[in-house]
């Protein structure tokens, strides 16, 4: 199969599930940040629980290859801060903005346009950032199991247990 067609099919399913989970809404995203409605955290963590087992297994079987994004300290801290700040005001993340337009929430078009402009600005800033923020401290492409010196299959059950406990707390508090 052609990679473009594969991307399109994957995206259609992804968008369908994002919409069914009702996570494309501004109110849900801001609701999570205001600690009032944990729908998007339930959704994301459920995906992560299932995904980490499948990805771990297929990686160990050699059917795919895990590839960590670099733990570049300045980039993740400052970039993460800027993203979080923009996200709170915009009420969408990049993927959900596109989905929100799909379900008729057309104000997300302005968020989408802003993000395209933001990407263009970043492309201009890149040479400057490369010699400053991005050059501060790069720990490289590291994963939690290797860093702790334990197997992935020790980390995953612990992550599951913690997340299930968190889910139970969300339900108890009706979040």
């Amino acid at each position: 199969m052609n990679s473009l067609l594969l991307g399109l099919i994957t995206g259609l399913l992804f968008g369908f599930l994002l919409q069914k989970g009702r996570v494309l809404r501004f109110d849900k995203q801001v609701g999570a940040m205001r600690l009032e409605d944990m729908t998007i955290l339930k959704f994301m963590l459920s995906a992560i629980l299932v995904g980490m087992v499948g990805i771990g297994l297929l990686n160990d079987l050699g059917a795919l290859k895990i590839s960590h994004k670099p733990m570049n300290l300045g980039a993740v801290l400052l970039g993460g801060f800027l993203f979080g700040a923009g996200w709170a005001v915009m009420g969408f993340c990049p993927g959900t903005s596109v989905g929100a337009i799909g379900e008729g929430r057309w104000h997300a078009i302005f968020a989408l346009l802003g993000m395209i402009v933001g990407a263009a600005i970043y492309a201009e800033l890149y040479p400057l950032l490369k010699s400053s923020v991005l050059a501060w401290k790069d720990y490289g492409k590291i994963g939690l199991p290797e860093t702790l010196g334990v197997s992935r299959w020790i980390v995953i059950p612990i992550f599951w247990a913690g997340t299930i406990a968190l889910f139970a707390w969300f339900e108890k508090r009706k979040l």
């Binding site: 999570a32 499948g54 990805i55 895990i66 993203f83 009420g91 379900e103 263009a120 492309a123 939690l144």
Partner: protein, 181 residues
């Protein structure tokens, strides 16, 4: 556990778990089809979209830009994935009748009123800042959050903590505490 939510959607646990399966199937399929594993993500596509738009007015500038050269300005697998998200959400919302034209989201209107111009301006500015941040961090809640944590990447945990930590802080400042309800 309820499988349907009050607004006719699916339980976020169910829809999320299915996204987990999709992420695994997708990582496997991209490895098989393209020879290299690609994980779900969205924000790099905005760089490519910006590059494609900019190229139509200033081709030379885009060709000489280091970042565009690094990320390759082209319609690729992830670009089509992002377009697919639009289509999938459209189909899902039309078939269950949750599709709705909305110019100002309810939670925003409650705090800042019904002005579309005001909402548009802040959504745009928020988008600019968020995307500069996402590109600096090299990922968004899909790439760092979902895909990063599934792979147990340190950068995924750190980025998601920063995204939410800052989001909570700024949301408190922008929308006020719960007592304002």
């Amino acid at each position: 556990m309820k499988w349907k939510t009050e607004d006719g959607g699916w339980s976020p646990y169910l829809a999320g778990a299915l996204v987990g399966l999709l992420a695994v199937a997708s990582a496997w399929a991209t490895t098989a089809v393209m020879g290299k594993t690609s994980f779900l993500g969205a924000s790099t596509t905005f760089v490519r979209a910006a590059g494609l738009l900019e190229r139509s007015v200033a081709a030379g500038h885009v060709a000489n830009n280091e970042y565009y050269a690094k990320e390759k300005v082209q319609v690729d697998w992830q670009f089509m994935l992002v377009i697919g998200i639009f289509g999938g959400a459209l189909v899902a919302s039309i078939t269950d009748r949750s599709f709705k034209y909305e110019g100002v989201p309810p939670a925003w209107a409650k705090r800042f009123g019904n002005s579309i111009g005001k909402r548009a301006l802040w959504a745009f500015l928020g988008g600019v800042v968020a995307m500069i941040g996402a590109r600096m961090a090299d990922g968004c809640p899909s790439g760092h959050g979902l895909s990063g944590l599934m792979q147990l990447s340190i950068s995924g945990f750190a980025a998601l903590a920063m995204f939410f930590g800052t989001g909570i802080l700024i949301a408190r400042f922008v929308y006020g505490g719960r007592k304002n309800e």
